[in-house]
Amino acid sequence: MLSIDAVDAYYEDIQALWGVSMEVREGELVVLVGPNGAGKTTVLRVISGLLRPASGRILFQDRVLNKEPAHKIVALGICQVPESGRIFTGMSVLENLELGAFVPDARREREKTLRWVYEIFPRLRERESQFAGTLSGGERQMLAIGRALMGKPRLLMLDEPSFGLAPILVDQTFEMITKINREGVTVLLVEQNVRAALELASRAYLLENGRIVGQGTGQDLLSYESVRSAYLA
Protein backbone atom coordinates (compact mmCIF):
# COMPACT_ATOMS: atom_id res chain seq x y z
CA MET A 1 0.00 0.00 0.00
CA LEU A 2 2.75 2.40 1.06
CA SER A 3 6.34 1.84 0.17
CA ILE A 4 9.23 4.10 0.95
CA ASP A 5 12.35 3.44 -1.02
CA ALA A 6 15.81 4.73 -0.10
CA VAL A 7 14.62 8.14 1.06
CA ASP A 8 17.08 10.84 2.09
CA ALA A 9 15.75 13.99 3.71
CA TYR A 10 17.29 17.19 5.03
CA TYR A 11 16.40 20.05 7.32
CA GLU A 12 18.27 22.91 5.70
CA ASP A 13 21.79 21.44 5.49
CA ILE A 14 21.40 18.75 8.10
CA GLN A 15 20.62 15.30 6.84
CA ALA A 16 17.85 13.71 8.89
CA LEU A 17 17.07 10.53 6.96
CA TRP A 18 19.60 8.26 5.30
CA GLY A 19 18.28 5.78 2.75
CA VAL A 20 15.15 4.91 4.68
CA SER A 21 13.11 2.09 3.19
CA MET A 22 9.86 0.87 4.70
CA GLU A 23 6.70 -0.81 3.67
CA VAL A 24 3.15 -0.76 4.99
CA ARG A 25 0.73 -3.32 3.58
CA GLU A 26 -3.03 -3.05 3.47
CA GLY A 27 -4.62 -3.78 6.83
CA GLU A 28 -1.38 -3.84 8.80
CA LEU A 29 -0.47 -2.04 11.98
CA VAL A 30 3.13 -1.05 11.43
CA VAL A 31 5.11 0.46 14.26
CA LEU A 32 8.16 2.68 13.92
CA VAL A 33 10.22 2.92 17.07
CA GLY A 34 13.48 4.56 17.93
CA PRO A 35 15.05 7.00 20.34
CA ASN A 36 14.33 10.70 20.53
CA GLY A 37 15.71 12.57 17.56
CA ALA A 38 16.10 9.44 15.44
CA GLY A 39 13.96 10.95 12.69
CA LYS A 40 10.64 9.18 13.34
CA THR A 41 8.61 12.36 12.95
CA THR A 42 10.64 13.22 9.87
CA VAL A 43 9.55 9.95 8.25
CA LEU A 44 5.91 10.98 8.76
CA ARG A 45 6.57 14.50 7.48
CA VAL A 46 8.12 13.13 4.34
CA ILE A 47 5.15 10.83 3.73
CA SER A 48 2.58 13.54 4.33
CA GLY A 49 4.38 16.02 2.08
CA LEU A 50 5.32 18.52 4.77
CA LEU A 51 8.97 17.83 3.96
CA ARG A 52 10.26 16.97 0.49
CA PRO A 53 12.61 14.01 0.26
CA ALA A 54 15.94 14.88 -1.37
CA SER A 55 16.12 11.50 -3.06
CA GLY A 56 14.40 8.16 -3.06
CA ARG A 57 10.79 7.40 -3.79
CA ILE A 58 7.52 7.28 -1.85
CA LEU A 59 4.80 5.20 -3.42
CA PHE A 60 1.21 5.04 -2.18
CA GLN A 61 -1.22 2.77 -4.01
CA ASP A 62 1.01 2.92 -7.11
CA ARG A 63 1.22 6.68 -7.01
CA VAL A 64 4.47 8.57 -6.52
CA LEU A 65 4.03 11.05 -3.67
CA ASN A 66 7.41 12.80 -3.86
CA LYS A 67 6.09 15.90 -5.56
CA GLU A 68 2.44 15.88 -4.48
CA PRO A 69 1.47 18.87 -2.32
CA ALA A 70 0.56 17.97 1.25
CA HIS A 71 -3.16 18.73 0.93
CA LYS A 72 -3.46 16.40 -2.08
CA ILE A 73 -1.80 13.60 -0.15
CA VAL A 74 -4.56 13.92 2.46
CA ALA A 75 -7.13 13.65 -0.32
CA LEU A 76 -5.49 10.37 -1.40
CA GLY A 77 -6.35 8.95 2.02
CA ILE A 78 -3.30 9.49 4.21
CA CYS A 79 -4.36 11.19 7.43
CA GLN A 80 -2.01 12.08 10.24
CA VAL A 81 -2.39 12.62 13.94
CA PRO A 82 0.54 14.99 14.49
CA GLU A 83 2.73 15.03 17.56
CA SER A 84 0.88 16.34 20.62
CA GLY A 85 -2.35 16.37 18.63
CA ARG A 86 -2.23 19.94 17.31
CA ILE A 87 -5.99 20.31 17.63
CA PHE A 88 -7.52 23.69 16.84
CA THR A 89 -7.94 24.91 20.42
CA GLY A 90 -9.86 28.06 19.48
CA MET A 91 -12.60 26.08 17.75
CA SER A 92 -15.30 23.77 19.02
CA VAL A 93 -14.89 20.00 19.16
CA LEU A 94 -17.43 19.62 16.37
CA GLU A 95 -15.65 22.19 14.20
CA ASN A 96 -12.39 20.29 14.69
CA LEU A 97 -14.09 17.12 13.52
CA GLU A 98 -15.69 18.88 10.56
CA LEU A 99 -12.28 20.15 9.49
CA GLY A 100 -11.02 16.58 9.62
CA ALA A 101 -13.49 15.84 6.85
CA PHE A 102 -12.37 18.77 4.71
CA VAL A 103 -11.43 16.83 1.56
CA PRO A 104 -14.38 16.32 -0.84
CA ASP A 105 -14.68 12.53 -0.53
CA ALA A 106 -14.72 12.66 3.24
CA ARG A 107 -17.00 15.69 3.36
CA ARG A 108 -19.69 13.91 1.40
CA GLU A 109 -19.94 11.20 4.03
CA ARG A 110 -19.18 13.25 7.08
CA GLU A 111 -22.48 12.65 8.87
CA LYS A 112 -21.90 8.92 8.68
CA THR A 113 -18.25 9.13 9.65
CA LEU A 114 -19.15 11.42 12.55
CA ARG A 115 -21.51 8.78 13.96
CA TRP A 116 -18.70 6.22 13.68
CA VAL A 117 -16.21 8.51 15.43
CA TYR A 118 -18.73 9.26 18.20
CA GLU A 119 -19.21 5.50 18.65
CA ILE A 120 -15.48 5.08 19.16
CA PHE A 121 -15.17 8.19 21.34
CA PRO A 122 -18.52 8.83 23.04
CA ARG A 123 -16.82 11.49 25.16
CA LEU A 124 -16.39 13.67 22.09
CA ARG A 125 -20.15 13.71 21.55
CA GLU A 126 -20.65 14.96 25.11
CA ARG A 127 -18.10 17.71 24.52
CA GLU A 128 -19.29 18.51 21.00
CA SER A 129 -19.97 22.23 21.44
CA GLN A 130 -17.13 22.92 23.87
CA PHE A 131 -13.98 24.75 22.83
CA ALA A 132 -11.27 22.20 22.10
CA GLY A 133 -8.92 24.23 24.28
CA THR A 134 -10.97 23.30 27.35
CA LEU A 135 -10.50 19.54 26.90
CA SER A 136 -8.30 17.41 29.15
CA GLY A 137 -5.13 15.84 27.79
CA GLY A 138 -6.78 12.50 27.13
CA GLU A 139 -9.77 14.12 25.45
CA ARG A 140 -7.47 16.19 23.25
CA GLN A 141 -5.78 13.03 22.06
CA MET A 142 -9.19 11.47 21.34
CA LEU A 143 -10.13 14.56 19.36
CA ALA A 144 -6.88 14.49 17.41
CA ILE A 145 -7.47 10.84 16.48
CA GLY A 146 -11.17 11.42 15.81
CA ARG A 147 -10.34 14.38 13.59
CA ALA A 148 -7.96 12.23 11.54
CA LEU A 149 -10.59 9.48 11.25
CA MET A 150 -13.06 12.04 9.88
CA GLY A 151 -10.84 12.16 6.78
CA LYS A 152 -11.76 8.51 6.06
CA PRO A 153 -8.12 7.46 6.00
CA ARG A 154 -6.90 4.47 4.07
CA LEU A 155 -3.68 4.95 5.99
CA LEU A 156 -3.73 6.49 9.45
CA MET A 157 -0.40 7.78 10.76
CA LEU A 158 -0.02 8.56 14.44
CA ASP A 159 2.91 10.43 15.90
CA GLU A 160 3.47 9.44 19.53
CA PRO A 161 -0.17 9.38 20.57
CA SER A 162 0.78 8.21 24.06
CA PHE A 163 3.07 11.16 24.72
CA GLY A 164 2.23 13.02 27.92
CA LEU A 165 -0.72 10.81 28.82
CA ALA A 166 -1.30 9.13 32.18
CA PRO A 167 -0.47 5.38 32.07
CA ILE A 168 -4.12 4.32 32.17
CA LEU A 169 -4.86 6.59 29.20
CA VAL A 170 -1.88 5.19 27.33
CA ASP A 171 -3.37 1.70 27.56
CA GLN A 172 -6.74 3.02 26.40
CA THR A 173 -5.15 4.84 23.48
CA PHE A 174 -3.37 1.69 22.33
CA GLU A 175 -6.61 -0.27 22.66
CA MET A 176 -8.36 2.32 20.50
CA ILE A 177 -5.66 2.13 17.86
CA THR A 178 -5.91 -1.66 17.73
CA LYS A 179 -9.68 -1.38 17.44
CA ILE A 180 -9.47 1.16 14.64
CA ASN A 181 -7.00 -1.09 12.84
CA ARG A 182 -9.36 -4.08 13.19
CA GLU A 183 -12.11 -2.03 11.58
CA GLY A 184 -10.01 -1.98 8.43
CA VAL A 185 -7.86 1.13 8.72
CA THR A 186 -4.19 0.54 7.96
CA VAL A 187 -2.05 2.14 10.65
CA LEU A 188 1.49 3.47 10.81
CA LEU A 189 2.32 4.21 14.43
CA VAL A 190 5.35 6.11 15.64
CA GLU A 191 6.05 5.48 19.32
CA GLN A 192 8.52 5.96 22.11
CA ASN A 193 6.56 3.63 24.32
CA VAL A 194 8.43 0.77 22.73
CA ARG A 195 7.19 -2.30 24.56
CA ALA A 196 3.48 -1.48 24.35
CA ALA A 197 3.76 -0.49 20.71
CA LEU A 198 5.71 -3.55 19.65
CA GLU A 199 3.24 -5.82 21.39
CA LEU A 200 0.42 -4.71 19.12
CA ALA A 201 2.41 -4.37 15.90
CA SER A 202 1.94 -6.59 12.86
CA ARG A 203 5.40 -5.50 11.84
CA ALA A 204 7.89 -2.99 13.14
CA TYR A 205 10.91 -0.94 12.17
CA LEU A 206 13.66 0.40 14.36
CA LEU A 207 15.07 3.79 13.40
CA GLU A 208 18.32 5.15 14.80
CA ASN A 209 20.18 8.26 13.66
CA GLY A 210 18.03 8.53 10.59
CA ARG A 211 18.65 4.97 9.45
CA ILE A 212 16.52 1.83 9.63
CA VAL A 213 18.59 -0.53 11.74
CA GLY A 214 16.12 -3.30 12.34
CA GLN A 215 12.83 -4.71 11.13
CA GLY A 216 10.58 -7.68 11.59
CA THR A 217 7.48 -8.63 13.51
CA GLY A 218 6.85 -6.87 16.78
CA GLN A 219 7.99 -10.02 18.56
CA ASP A 220 11.19 -10.10 16.50
CA LEU A 221 12.11 -6.61 17.58
CA LEU A 222 11.19 -7.29 21.17
CA SER A 223 13.77 -10.07 21.19
CA TYR A 224 16.54 -7.91 19.67
CA GLU A 225 19.35 -7.61 22.12
CA SER A 226 19.88 -3.91 21.27
CA VAL A 227 16.18 -3.12 21.67
CA ARG A 228 16.01 -5.00 24.95
CA SER A 229 18.98 -3.26 26.44
CA ALA A 230 18.18 0.20 25.12
CA TYR A 231 14.42 0.41 25.59
CA LEU A 232 13.13 -2.38 27.73
CA ALA A 233 15.67 -2.59 30.50
Partner: protein
Protein backbone atom coordinates in the same frame (compact mmCIF):
# COMPACT_ATOMS: atom_id res chain seq x y z
CA UNK B 1 -23.60 71.18 26.76
CA UNK B 2 -25.33 67.82 27.09
CA UNK B 3 -26.41 68.02 23.49
CA UNK B 4 -22.94 68.72 22.18
CA UNK B 5 -21.57 65.83 24.22
CA UNK B 6 -24.15 63.39 22.88
CA UNK B 7 -23.61 64.77 19.38
CA UNK B 8 -19.89 64.14 19.77
CA UNK B 9 -20.44 60.60 20.96
CA UNK B 10 -22.89 59.81 18.18
CA UNK B 11 -20.52 61.12 15.52
CA UNK B 12 -17.69 59.17 17.12
CA UNK B 13 -19.69 55.96 16.85
CA UNK B 14 -20.72 56.65 13.26
CA UNK B 15 -17.13 57.34 12.23
CA UNK B 16 -15.86 54.46 14.36
CA UNK B 17 -17.93 51.86 12.52
CA UNK B 18 -16.41 53.13 9.28
CA UNK B 19 -12.93 52.82 10.81
CA UNK B 20 -13.73 49.25 11.78
CA UNK B 21 -14.61 48.42 8.18
CA UNK B 22 -11.42 50.14 6.98
CA UNK B 23 -9.39 47.92 9.31
CA UNK B 24 -11.34 44.71 8.68
CA UNK B 25 -9.62 43.77 5.42
CA UNK B 26 -6.13 44.57 6.69
CA UNK B 27 -6.72 42.60 9.86
CA UNK B 28 -8.09 39.60 7.94
CA UNK B 29 -5.13 39.55 5.55
CA UNK B 30 -2.57 39.98 8.31
CA UNK B 31 -4.22 37.42 10.55
CA UNK B 32 -4.29 34.73 7.88
CA UNK B 33 -1.20 35.37 5.79
CA UNK B 34 1.03 37.50 8.06
CA UNK B 35 1.35 39.83 5.08
CA UNK B 36 1.44 43.40 6.34
CA UNK B 37 0.02 45.04 3.26
CA UNK B 38 0.65 48.75 3.78
CA UNK B 39 -0.90 49.41 0.37
CA UNK B 40 -4.25 48.68 2.02
CA UNK B 41 -5.09 52.39 1.96
CA UNK B 42 -4.35 52.52 -1.77
CA UNK B 43 -6.69 49.59 -2.41
CA UNK B 44 -9.27 51.56 -0.44
CA UNK B 45 -8.56 54.58 -2.63
CA UNK B 46 -9.13 52.47 -5.76
CA UNK B 47 -12.41 51.33 -4.25
CA UNK B 48 -13.39 54.96 -3.79
CA UNK B 49 -12.57 55.76 -7.41
CA UNK B 50 -14.38 52.66 -8.66
CA UNK B 51 -17.54 53.86 -6.93
CA UNK B 52 -17.00 57.45 -8.00
CA UNK B 53 -16.69 56.30 -11.61
CA UNK B 54 -19.83 54.20 -11.66
CA UNK B 55 -21.69 56.89 -9.72
CA UNK B 56 -20.73 59.63 -12.19
CA UNK B 57 -21.31 57.50 -15.29
CA UNK B 58 -24.64 55.98 -14.32
CA UNK B 59 -25.82 58.53 -11.81
CA UNK B 60 -27.14 55.81 -9.50
CA UNK B 61 -27.31 55.87 -5.71
CA UNK B 62 -23.73 55.71 -4.33
CA UNK B 63 -24.55 52.74 -2.12
CA UNK B 64 -25.64 50.79 -5.22
CA UNK B 65 -22.09 51.09 -6.58
CA UNK B 66 -20.89 48.68 -3.90
CA UNK B 67 -21.36 45.47 -5.95
CA UNK B 68 -19.30 46.74 -8.89
CA UNK B 69 -16.65 48.06 -6.53
CA UNK B 70 -16.49 44.67 -4.84
CA UNK B 71 -15.95 42.97 -8.19
CA UNK B 72 -13.35 45.52 -9.32
CA UNK B 73 -11.33 45.26 -6.12
CA UNK B 74 -11.57 41.47 -6.10
CA UNK B 75 -9.92 41.52 -9.52
CA UNK B 76 -7.32 44.09 -8.53
CA UNK B 77 -6.61 42.13 -5.35
CA UNK B 78 -6.14 38.92 -7.35
CA UNK B 79 -3.75 40.61 -9.80
CA UNK B 80 -1.72 42.29 -7.06
CA UNK B 81 -1.52 39.02 -5.13
CA UNK B 82 -0.33 37.00 -8.12
CA UNK B 83 2.19 39.65 -9.18
CA UNK B 84 3.73 40.55 -5.84
CA UNK B 85 2.61 38.49 -2.90
CA UNK B 86 2.39 34.90 -4.10
CA UNK B 87 6.17 34.55 -3.78
CA UNK B 88 6.10 35.38 -0.09
CA UNK B 89 3.85 32.54 1.00
CA UNK B 90 6.61 30.16 2.01
CA UNK B 91 8.86 32.63 3.81
CA UNK B 92 9.30 32.39 7.57
CA UNK B 93 6.93 34.67 9.44
CA UNK B 94 9.31 37.48 10.33
CA UNK B 95 10.84 37.71 6.86
CA UNK B 96 7.33 37.65 5.50
CA UNK B 97 6.26 40.68 7.52
CA UNK B 98 9.39 42.63 6.55
CA UNK B 99 9.27 41.74 2.87
CA UNK B 100 5.58 42.43 2.49
CA UNK B 101 6.07 45.76 4.24
CA UNK B 102 8.63 46.74 1.61
CA UNK B 103 6.59 45.38 -1.28
CA UNK B 104 3.54 47.16 0.14
CA UNK B 105 5.33 50.52 0.18
CA UNK B 106 6.45 50.05 -3.41
CA UNK B 107 2.98 48.97 -4.41
CA UNK B 108 1.42 52.00 -2.75
CA UNK B 109 3.65 54.31 -4.82
CA UNK B 110 2.68 52.47 -8.01
CA UNK B 111 -1.02 52.62 -7.20
CA UNK B 112 -0.85 56.31 -6.25
CA UNK B 113 0.77 57.17 -9.56
CA UNK B 114 -1.71 55.09 -11.51
CA UNK B 115 -4.52 56.96 -9.76
CA UNK B 116 -2.85 60.28 -10.51
CA UNK B 117 -2.65 59.32 -14.19
CA UNK B 118 -6.23 58.07 -14.43
CA UNK B 119 -8.09 60.56 -12.28
CA UNK B 120 -5.70 63.55 -11.68
CA UNK B 121 -4.82 64.96 -8.28
CA UNK B 122 -8.19 66.68 -7.75
CA UNK B 123 -10.26 65.91 -4.70
CA UNK B 124 -13.33 63.93 -5.65
CA UNK B 125 -16.35 63.23 -3.59
CA UNK B 126 -19.63 61.49 -4.08
CA UNK B 127 -22.56 63.70 -3.31
CA UNK B 128 -25.85 61.87 -3.18
CA UNK B 129 -29.16 63.69 -3.57
CA UNK B 130 -29.77 63.15 0.15
CA UNK B 131 -26.27 64.12 1.28
CA UNK B 132 -27.45 67.06 3.37
CA UNK B 133 -30.36 65.20 4.97
CA UNK B 134 -30.23 64.54 8.69
CA UNK B 135 -32.65 63.39 11.38
CA UNK B 136 -32.75 65.25 14.62
CA UNK B 137 -33.62 63.28 17.73
CA UNK B 138 -33.59 65.15 21.06
CA UNK B 139 -31.40 67.81 19.55
CA UNK B 140 -28.81 65.36 18.23
CA UNK B 141 -28.27 65.25 14.46
CA UNK B 142 -28.04 61.93 12.64
CA UNK B 143 -26.80 62.58 9.08
CA UNK B 144 -28.50 60.11 6.74
CA UNK B 145 -25.34 59.29 4.78
CA UNK B 146 -23.46 58.49 7.96
CA UNK B 147 -26.29 56.27 9.20
CA UNK B 148 -26.35 54.40 5.91
CA UNK B 149 -22.55 54.01 6.14
CA UNK B 150 -22.84 52.66 9.67
CA UNK B 151 -25.39 50.13 8.49
CA UNK B 152 -23.22 49.13 5.53
CA UNK B 153 -20.16 48.70 7.74
CA UNK B 154 -22.12 46.57 10.21
CA UNK B 155 -23.54 44.42 7.41
CA UNK B 156 -20.06 43.65 6.09
CA UNK B 157 -18.65 42.97 9.56
CA UNK B 158 -21.52 40.59 10.25
CA UNK B 159 -21.24 38.95 6.85
CA UNK B 160 -17.56 38.22 7.35
CA UNK B 161 -18.26 36.97 10.84
CA UNK B 162 -20.90 34.53 9.56
CA UNK B 163 -18.71 33.47 6.64
CA UNK B 164 -15.86 32.59 9.00
CA UNK B 165 -18.13 30.82 11.50
CA UNK B 166 -20.59 28.96 9.35
CA UNK B 167 -19.01 27.93 6.06
CA UNK B 168 -16.47 25.20 5.46
CA UNK B 169 -14.17 27.64 3.70
CA UNK B 170 -14.46 30.08 6.61
CA UNK B 171 -13.55 27.36 9.07
CA UNK B 172 -10.59 26.42 6.91
CA UNK B 173 -9.44 30.04 7.09
CA UNK B 174 -9.72 30.06 10.90
CA UNK B 175 -7.91 26.74 11.13
CA UNK B 176 -5.11 28.14 8.99
CA UNK B 177 -4.81 31.14 11.31
CA UNK B 178 -4.44 28.87 14.33
CA UNK B 179 -2.01 26.30 12.94
CA UNK B 180 -1.32 26.28 9.22
CA UNK B 181 0.58 23.01 9.33
CA UNK B 182 -2.21 21.17 11.11
CA UNK B 183 -4.60 22.76 8.60
CA UNK B 184 -2.52 21.34 5.76
CA UNK B 185 -2.86 17.91 7.36
CA UNK B 186 -6.65 18.33 7.12
CA UNK B 187 -6.23 18.60 3.35
CA UNK B 188 -6.63 22.36 3.30
CA UNK B 189 -4.74 24.03 0.46
CA UNK B 190 -2.97 26.84 2.30
CA UNK B 191 -2.05 28.66 -0.89
CA UNK B 192 -5.70 28.89 -1.79
CA UNK B 193 -6.62 30.10 1.69
CA UNK B 194 -3.99 32.84 1.45
CA UNK B 195 -5.19 33.93 -1.94
CA UNK B 196 -8.79 33.96 -0.80
CA UNK B 197 -8.02 35.97 2.34
CA UNK B 198 -6.02 38.51 0.37
CA UNK B 199 -8.71 38.95 -2.25
CA UNK B 200 -11.41 39.23 0.42
CA UNK B 201 -9.28 41.83 2.18
CA UNK B 202 -8.98 43.83 -1.04
CA UNK B 203 -12.73 43.65 -1.62
CA UNK B 204 -13.39 44.86 1.93
CA UNK B 205 -10.93 47.72 1.40
CA UNK B 206 -12.95 48.55 -1.71
CA UNK B 207 -16.26 48.90 0.14
CA UNK B 208 -14.54 50.96 2.80
CA UNK B 209 -13.35 53.18 -0.05
CA UNK B 210 -16.91 53.64 -1.24
CA UNK B 211 -17.93 54.79 2.23
CA UNK B 212 -14.95 57.14 2.48
CA UNK B 213 -15.85 58.65 -0.90
CA UNK B 214 -19.41 59.24 0.28
CA UNK B 215 -18.52 60.61 3.71
CA UNK B 216 -15.28 62.45 2.95
CA UNK B 217 -13.44 62.81 -0.31
CA UNK B 218 -10.86 60.86 -2.28
CA UNK B 219 -7.59 61.78 -3.96
CA UNK B 220 -4.53 59.75 -5.02
CA UNK B 221 -2.37 60.37 -1.92
CA UNK B 222 -5.06 59.56 0.65
CA UNK B 223 -3.95 55.96 1.16
CA UNK B 224 -1.35 56.29 3.90
CA UNK B 225 -3.71 58.14 6.20
CA UNK B 226 -6.22 55.27 5.97
CA UNK B 227 -3.60 52.58 6.28
CA UNK B 228 -2.55 54.26 9.53
CA UNK B 229 -6.12 54.34 10.78
CA UNK B 230 -6.47 50.65 9.95
CA UNK B 231 -3.24 49.82 11.76
CA UNK B 232 -4.33 51.76 14.85
CA UNK B 233 -7.67 49.95 14.92
CA UNK B 234 -5.94 46.61 14.38
CA UNK B 235 -3.59 47.24 17.27
CA UNK B 236 -6.41 48.48 19.50
CA UNK B 237 -8.68 45.55 18.80
CA UNK B 238 -6.08 42.83 18.69
CA UNK B 239 -5.77 40.36 15.86
CA UNK B 240 -8.09 37.71 14.73
CA UNK B 241 -11.31 38.98 16.18
CA UNK B 242 -14.04 40.75 14.29
CA UNK B 243 -15.61 41.94 17.51
CA UNK B 244 -12.21 43.32 18.51
CA UNK B 245 -11.97 45.15 15.20
CA UNK B 246 -15.41 46.70 15.70
CA UNK B 247 -14.60 47.78 19.25
CA UNK B 248 -11.20 49.10 18.12
CA UNK B 249 -12.85 51.14 15.38
CA UNK B 250 -15.45 52.57 17.74
CA UNK B 251 -12.76 53.42 20.29
CA UNK B 252 -10.71 55.28 17.72
CA UNK B 253 -13.77 57.13 16.41
CA UNK B 254 -14.86 58.13 19.91
CA UNK B 255 -11.36 59.16 20.98
CA UNK B 256 -11.03 61.36 17.92
CA UNK B 257 -14.38 63.06 18.31
CA UNK B 258 -13.96 63.61 22.05
CA UNK B 259 -10.52 65.10 21.39
CA UNK B 260 -12.02 67.49 18.86
CA UNK B 261 -14.58 68.57 21.42
CA UNK B 262 -12.22 68.97 24.39
CA UNK B 263 -9.03 70.20 22.71
CA UNK B 264 -9.32 71.08 19.07
CA UNK B 265 -9.82 69.14 15.88
CA UNK B 266 -6.16 69.79 15.09
CA UNK B 267 -5.20 67.15 17.61
CA UNK B 268 -7.65 64.57 16.28
CA UNK B 269 -5.15 62.68 14.11
CA UNK B 270 -2.39 62.88 16.70
CA UNK B 271 -4.44 61.31 19.42
CA UNK B 272 -4.96 58.14 17.42
CA UNK B 273 -1.23 57.75 16.94
CA UNK B 274 -0.54 58.41 20.61
CA UNK B 275 -3.03 55.70 21.44
CA UNK B 276 -1.24 53.42 18.97
CA UNK B 277 2.12 53.91 20.65
CA UNK B 278 0.69 53.52 24.15
CA UNK B 279 -1.00 50.26 23.27
CA UNK B 280 2.14 48.89 21.65
CA UNK B 281 4.13 49.70 24.78
CA UNK B 282 1.71 48.53 27.43
CA UNK B 283 -0.51 45.97 25.77
CA UNK B 284 1.03 44.72 22.53
CA UNK B 285 -1.51 41.94 22.11
CA UNK B 286 -4.26 44.57 21.74
CA UNK B 287 -6.95 45.47 24.21
CA UNK B 288 -8.89 42.32 23.50
CA UNK B 289 -6.32 40.01 21.97
CA UNK B 290 -4.86 37.14 23.88
CA UNK B 291 -1.11 36.88 24.14
CA UNK B 292 -0.80 33.94 21.78
CA UNK B 293 -3.10 35.06 19.01
Amino acid sequence: MLESVSQTLILGILVGALYALVALGLSLVFGVTKFLNVAHGELLMFGGYASFWVFSLLGIDPFLTIPTTLIALTLIGAIVYQLFFVRMVKLPEETKIKNTLLVGFGLSVILQNLALRFWSADDRGITASYSGVAFTVLGVRFPLVRLASLLTALIFLLALHLFLRKTYTGKAIRATVQDWEAATLMGIDIQRVYFLAFVLGAALAGVAGTLVAVNYSIEPSMGLNWTLKALIVMVLGGLGSITGTLVGGLLLGLTESVTSLLLSSNYREVVGLVLFVLILIFRPQGLFGTKEA
